[in-house]
Amino acid sequence: MDWLFFGEISLAGLAMGGLYALIALGFVIIYKATRVINFAIGEIMMFAAYLFLAFAGGMEISPWVAVPLAVLGGALLGGVIEKTMIRPMLGESPISVVMVTIGIASILVGLVELIWTADPQLLPSFLPREPVFIGELYLAPKIAYGFLIGMAMLILYLLYFRFSRGGVALRATASDQAAAYSMGINVRRVFNLAWVFGSLAASLAGILVAATGGLSPQFGIIGLSVLVVVIVGGLDSILGALIAGVFIGWLETVAGAYLGGEYRMPATFAVLAVILVFKPYGLFGTHEIERV
């Protein structure tokens, strides 16, 4: 056993898992507050990455300005989607709402094909290119710096939810919508806020993932991997999203390295199947979740 190789593979997997955790966080925030399973999360990521491409590539704005602009654009998109397409569905069956999010995903794919064409794209390089060594372990620079940026965002989120008024309102609404409403919390505004924050996290992750793996209108398919993460972690558990994100990222990478790339997805779905048998609500999910 080459332990150095295992260490390097594990490190790469954990770093990628950190980005999965960030996407999963976006997914869970929306589900936790609004009970909407957002199948368009991958396409929101994709849209933000294309915005970054437009700002940094097309308009030649500094990447360090373009990243926040694109992330804010993605967050704004989430807010608009909630207000115009999800809010009118309040009270409808969960399946109908899920179908709306699938429709939104399809519209976003069409929109980017119209604006940016169907050509595969590479994002302008904005992360340092020097190899990163942790001791003797090599880590690809894009993955390393992407992980650090993602983790910084995760910490900011956790602090916001813990200490800010908006965060408390979000958590209160997630716990009990009726009680939150009766205590004067503007639940509609919280719903909108959840979509904005969820989309913001996903948008940043989208830019970081696209910087590593390239971008195309089919980029949103990564949402499937994240669906595994949130189901394993528990649809309504932020802690679950973080742990499962890191674990699934690691597992995918190790399976790919030792068994071959074709075993990445089977490995993660095998874990999903086992978890669903023994913990139907995910590792950290609550039992009241309505399953779709």
Binding site: I9, T212, G261, E262
Partner: protein, 402 residues
């Protein structure tokens, strides 16, 4: 304002030249003869749209050019297509609709999956000759797919050409080593077994074999495997852009002096446009001359003129355009040979005409005369990216596999 007027003027001049060309061509166009129909399942949307748009442009421009020349033996040519979004069921539906409405002679299939799925029906019809976007090795099985052909070398033959080039860079007893990187798709896996067998015949050791998901994917772990295998060459197959860029950049960051090569769909100028300087030195196997190559010839010149005429703003035309044009060129040659022999346009007769193509001069589209073998054109050339010039340049002679 002046520029706008100039642009408008140029556009009007362009339209004028089209009208003039049609007017001049009218006397030689025998409108009283039945049209010959080229059909197509074309992926104008979906995952293959980046190429489908250009394939469609190549097919359209060739058809217009051909009609300007008087069609095929006086028959006008019609190109009838439907968008399929690169989905097999939609491609099948498009084929059924077009073949039901038109007297179809030839057809463009958008994927290996579609061409396999429709094979039984095409075989039964015995009236259509089919080719398309696929270079799948399986389609050169004449018994199973007697009316389908490959408009170039199949993927195994592309690997053969690449491996011959690699072998030519080594010496007996000191052959370069190679790694294969391919996508986890039917397309990606197509040439791997034959490629490994051919490498063994040539004495080239395959030191690593990596399968990845197609599209946007992190390949850091796979690059770590390359760091240990240290191949002299990496051959990519089943990709358009990503993750080729990541392998190249990361392996170079690690100090490896590996050279990188790819097959047809991995060798478009898109790689240069998107990767910039990082693409320098990348090599691809290509059966056609690039649009912006220094090569010439009557048909290549006609292609460039027609491309310029149809869309003066487009500039460079990708390999998909060349591929679409060449497909329709082969159809024309086959239909012409069949009609010249006084035969009906049946699948059998057209397949026979195709098989009779020997030392065919393609007018510069392919740099040497080509001969059909097992329903394919097993010819290609290795081209290398010159990033500062922003184009591919030939680094080998044309290689025609026997």
């Amino acid at each position: 304002m002046f520029n706008q007027l100039m642009q408008k003027g140029r556009r009007l001049a362009g339209i004028g030249s089209v009208v003039a060309a049609l007017g001049l061509a009218a006397p030689v166009m025998a409108q009283d003869k039945d049209p010959i129909v080229f059909g197509g399942s074309i992926p104008l949307s979906g995952v293959f749209a980046f190429a489908g748009i250009h394939l469609h442009a190549g097919l359209t421009d060739y058809t217009n050019w051909l009609n300007d020349q008087g069609g095929i033996n006086g028959h006008p040519v019609e190109y009838v297509m439907e968008d399929t979004a690169y989905e097999v069921d939609r491609s099948v539906a498009a084929f059924k609709k077009i073949s039901g409405n038109e007297n179809l002679a030839t057809y463009y299939g958008d994927s290996t999956g579609f061409m396999k799925a429709i094979a039984a029906e095409v075989n039964e019809m015995n009236s259509v000759l089919m080719s398309g976007a696929s270079f799948a090795t399986a389609l050169t099985n004449n018994e199973q797919y007697p009316y389908q052909f490959i408009p170039g070398p199949n993927y195994s033959q592309m690997f053969g050409i690449i491996l011959e080039y690699i072998a030519s860079q080594g010496e007996e007893g000191d052959m370069p080593t190679v790694a294969f990187v391919y996508s986890d798709t039917e397309f990606g896996k197509d040439p791997i077994e034959n490629g490994k067998a051919r490498a063994a015949e040539l004495g080239i050791e395959v030191v690593e074999e990596i399968v990845t998901k197609p599209g946007s994917v992190d390949v850091s772990a796979e690059v770590l495997k390359m760091r240990r295998a240290r191949p002299d060459y990496v051959v990519f197959h089943g990709y358009v852009l990503s993750p080729i860029n990541e392998f190249m950049v990361q392996m170079r960051q690690m100090g490896l002096d590996t050279q990188f090569m790819g097959t047809f769909w991995s060798s478009d100028k898109l790689i240069i446009d998107k990767m910039g300087e990082d693409a320098d030195g990348y090599m691809g196997v290509m059966p056609y001359n690039y649009y912006d190559s220094e090569e010439g010839g009557p048909m290549l010149d006609a292609l460039r003129a027609q491309a310029e005429k149809s869309d003066p703003e487009a500039g460079y035309r990708p390999t998909g355009y060349m591929q679409g044009w060449f497909n329709a060129m082969v159809w024309t040659e086959v239909v012409k040979r069949t009609l010249d022999a006084g035969k009906e346009l049946t699948g059998d007769n057209m397949a026979e005409a195709l098989a009779s193509i020997k030392d065919w001069d393609t007018g510069g589209i392919i740099g040497i005369p080509v001969t059909v073998k097992d329903m394919s054109f097993p010819v290609g050339r290795i081209w290398r990216v010159n990033a500062s010039e922003g184009r591919y340049e030939p680094v080998s002679d044309w290689i025609h596999l026997d």
